[in-house]
Symmetry: C2
Subunit: 131 residues, 2 copies
DNA sequence: AATTTATAATTGTATATACAATTATAATTG
DNA sequence: CAATTATAATTGTATATACAATTATAAATT
């Protein structure tokens, strides 16, 4: 089980990394950026929940996206609000394309129905383990 | 899919790390060590295939296990043979216990049949992606 | 209102893993 | 058999992620 889940994750990672090369972002950076585009001003805390990553990891991801001028952070009390830049907005269509590419790639390998079924199953698992 | 597989892997990782605490090893180190116990003299190349990890990663894992006096490497031409030490052999029963604990823990959460079914499914996926 | 407690974010540090380059040896071929 | 190519392992370096500690602010309690 241990190796199966890890191996699967690494393989998915590779497919994803490949799909996101077009916009020169790692999958994590890309998904974070998309969340910020969908909800401008979103807080790290919220991103952490959505992405199932620790807050410290989120900070690191945001830092890099800020360097790339794709996000800006605006402090607001103890919170931080994260906004996409116009550069990020301009990138949006390409990113949508990457999402589609990624889906195509893995469902090509796994088969559409099977991969859909599998996603549901994985999510059920992950939710159960969330407790 | 990307986050589902990753999140699942990370959660499994946590359960595994916990189960292996008793012998003060990470899951990867532990599984490598068990392979060496089952096949004394095994080569890094072989370990890499079994564990689905890159050779460089295997080298790093072995180094640490060597520091802990659980493995020794004996060069043989361009190959390296990896042998468990007596300390490793002494640890074996405890390690078996950890394997059992790990299985119990995740099947407690996921349910026995469901987790068995799920493993099969994951392995099928991973194999397909292996191409 | 002052003090305590809780929360959000960040920083410092550590780990697992990978990729690319290198080294050492073996196998093959001209 | 000398030169080339292939293979196994290692090393140098980079990345993603996490945990623990810290900082800054807000909320709650006395």
């Amino acid at each position: 089980m241990y190796f199966a889940t890890n191996a699967l994750a690494r393989k998915m990672e590779k497919i994803a990394v490949n799909a996101w090369k077009k916009v020169d972002l790692s999958p994590s950076h890309a998904y974070l950026l998309m969340l910020a585009l969908d909800a401008p001003g979103i807080q790290p805390m919220k991103l952490s929940e959505e992405l199932h990553l620790e807050p410290s990891t989120i900070t690191r991801l945001i830092e890099k996206l800020e360097e790339k001028k794709l996000l800006v952070r605006i402090a607001d009390g103890k919170q931080t609000n994260v906004y996409p830049t116009s550069k990020a907005r301009a990138l949006r269509p390409k990113m949508k394309q990457c999402v589609a590419d990624f889906y195509d790639k893995y469902s090509l390998v796994l088969g559409k129905e099977e991969s859909d079924r599998f996603i549901k199953s994985i999510n059920r698992m992950a939710d159960k383990l969330a407790v």
